[in-house]
């Protein structure tokens, strides 16, 4: 039997610190009462209320449109960027610049994008959020695919050429399939980041068509209702699923 070590205590406290708020949120979403101050018993009524709410449904739809579009665009751009960086440059600076949007503070990107859109007199709406999310999505996809590329034997592409394949054939038949797990992981990451992104969406959204996080924000201004707890719990479930799937895939990748 393993001896209890006192080192488990700070570890446990850290986990408590990290996850207690989330646990409270999830528990409260099943609270029958309409305030967080008392517990009236288990109830799923708030979930029903949530689906009846038109603003929430529209926000969810907008969010899905933005996330799907941004994921598609950033997956293509990010993959090409990663392959281009790995195969055709030796510049560490270009490398760093390519993934910078992933680590820049959201607020910087948000202000920058808004200033840019204003400067080129771009009308704001779902499309402007979609493009904004593509910016950081591309950086994340590029970073993940780049990691995958580092694990792929560079001579695979030479072998393909040696066996008579043209450069485009090699890209489609060898490069893409060997990167596939990384590409899928990157896409899942971009999707889950886009779904709950608030700051950039808030800055680049038009007057109509708010995304779900913006809808939530406007609801919260009148106090946190259990309805919002229910919504947050659902978002949490979706994000968790995607992040875990992305991690699984990238681990699978390394064993290949």
């Amino acid at each position: 039997m393993r001896r209890f070590s006192w080192l488990y205590l700070p570890a446990g406290l850290t986990y408590l610190f990290l996850y207690l708020p989330i646990v409270v949120l999830v528990v409260m979403s099943f609270n029958a009462a309409d305030t967080p101050y008392r517990w009236d018993g288990f109830d799923t009524a708030w979930y029903g209320r949530l689906f009846a709410d038109r603003a929430v449904r529209e926000g969810l739809l907008n969010t899905l449109v933005v996330a799907a579009g941004a994921t598609a665009l950033s997956t293509v751009l990010g993959t090409l960027l990663a392959v281009g960086l790995a195969r055709h440059t030796r510049s560490r600076l270009l490398d760093a610049i390519a993934v910078a949007p992933a680590v820049l503070p959201d607020i910087v990107l948000a202000i920058g994008l808004l200033a840019f859109y204003t400067a080129v007199q771009f009308t704001l709406g779902l499309h402007s959020i979609l493009l904004a999310h593509t910016v950081f999505g591309t950086a994340f996809v590029a970073a993940v695919v780049r990691t995958r590329l580092a694990h792929v034997d560079g001579s695979l592409e030479e072998a393909s050429r040696d066996l008579g394949a043209t450069a485009p054939q090699t890209f489609v038949r060898i490069t893409l399939p060997s990167l596939a797990p990384g590409i899928v992981a990157g896409a899942l990451l971009a999707f889950s980041l886009s779904i709950d992104e608030f700051v950039i969406a808030f800055f680049t959204a038009g007057p109509q068509d708010p995304t779900l996080p913006i809808v939530i924000y406007s609801m919260v201004r009148f106090g946190v209702t259990p309805e919002i707890n229910a919504l947050a719990t659902l978002l949490l479930a979706v994000s968790f699923t995607f992040v875990i799937a992305a991690q699984r895939l990238s681990r699978l990748t390394e064993s290949l």
Binding site: D153, A159, S160, D162, G164, A165, Q169
Partner: protein, 354 residues
């Protein structure tokens, strides 16, 4: 299906040079590779052998010089159009494709009819002894099996020239010996000209019909294994191929004068009297316990089963003399003994320049 051992020249490499920054990877390299032969490019790492291989495959271009295959300029042909295939050191098997799909890849690029592809894949799988593993993925195979797949994938296209980059280096010792025989058998069977790159001189000696020894981007000697061993052309080759006793001195009319040691027997070279030269004598030519010769003390005895190698320290020589004797030997560590060798068994080499 075996072809003549020495055929027409297949590949002619003329004055090929390639530099990477400050490093001259290849300097004025000229070689002829004959139709149907098993040719080895041998040298220490960094000698340029891999660069030459990559030039033949088309992944590198030389700075100057020409390469022809069957008399036609090879350098003008893109890598995917050359009748040349390369077996990569890492094997470079496509991890997402089955064994059969890996092998069929090259034939599919040629747009061969589907049943021809299937037939040729089955045939080559039988040739390399992998029938039954067609549906496996590369990661489900052992090292030796992967190598066979890589080989099958390269020969199924029936190239004019097959290049092998350190083909046995990734295998453990036992599988290596097995594959060595296998490679030789295959080369006879398919009749393709093989060029193997290796840093392992035993591998080159046992595989190849002819060996080019490279060092620092230059070809030092091209010869069959036996003459290469018995008649090394220069000091580098004498030292690199097999074990050798190298002793430097000044030539006189009756031998090689070595300071503090005396005059050692070597072939007469009346026209080079007074020149600095090095005599090379193989350990198996050195006689132990002779009457004359040099006196020394046994410093090391290594028993290999069939033979024993004895290191004898001779005063005045900077390296102990190695002698290989058959079976076990009567001498023991610390014994005083005498060594000598017949002058006719010595190879006399120029230099080293001082």
């Amino acid at each position: 299906m075996s072809q003549p051992r020495t055929g027409e020249p297949l590949v002619s490499i003329r004055s090929v040079s390639r530099r990477f920054g400050d490093v001259e990877a290849l300097q004025q390299v000229s070689l002829e590779i004959r139709q149907g032969e098993f040719f080895a490019l041998l040298g220490p790492s960094g000698c340029g052998k891999t660069t030459l291989l990559r030039i033949l495959a088309g992944f590198e271009q030389p700075d100057s010089g020409s390469v022809t295959l069957d008399g036609a300029d090879l350098l003008a042909v893109a890598p995917h159009r050359r009748p040349v295939n390369l077996m990569f050191q890492s094997y470079a098997l496509f991890p997402h494709l089955s064994v059969a799909k890996n092998i069929a890849y090259g034939l599919e690029r040629e747009r061969r009819p589907r049943n021809e592809i299937r037939e040729r894949v089955d045939e080559v799988l039988a040739t390399v002894g992998l029938t039954g593993l067609a549906r496996r993925r590369p990661h489900q195979l052992s090292g030796g099996q992967r190598q066979r797949v890589a080989l099958a994938r390269a020969i199924v296209k029936r190239p004019r020239l097959l290049l092998l980059d350190e083909p046995l280096s990734a295998l453990d010792k036992k599988v290596r010996a097995e594959m060595q025989l296998e490679l030789k058998r295959l080369q006879h069977e398919v009749g393709i000209t093989f060029v193997v790159v290796t840093h392992d001189q035993e591998e080159a000696m046992s595989l190849a019909d002819r060996i080019a020894v490279l060092n620092e981007g230059r070809v030092r000697q091209v010869d069959a294994p036996v003459p290469l061993y018995e008649r090394p052309g220069d000091l580098f080759v004498a030292d690199f191929i097999g074990a050798n006793n190298l002793i430097t001195g000044v030539l006189t009319s009756d031998g090689l004068r070595v300071p503090d040691v005396g005059v050692l027997p070597c072939p007469a070279a009346p026209d080079r009297v007074g020149a600095t030269a090095t005599l090379a004598v193989r350990p198996e030519r050195v006689r132990l316990g002779a009457d004359g010769g040099l006196a020394g003390v046994v410093r090391d005895v290594t028993f290999f089963g069939g033979t024993t190698r004895v290191a004898v320290e001779v005063p005045g020589l900077d390296r102990p003399l190695l002698a290989t004797v058959a079976g076990a030997t009567a001498v023991a560590l610390g014994d005083e003994t005498r060594v000598d060798w017949p002058g006719a068994d010595v190879v006399l080499l120029d230099g080293p320049d001082r």
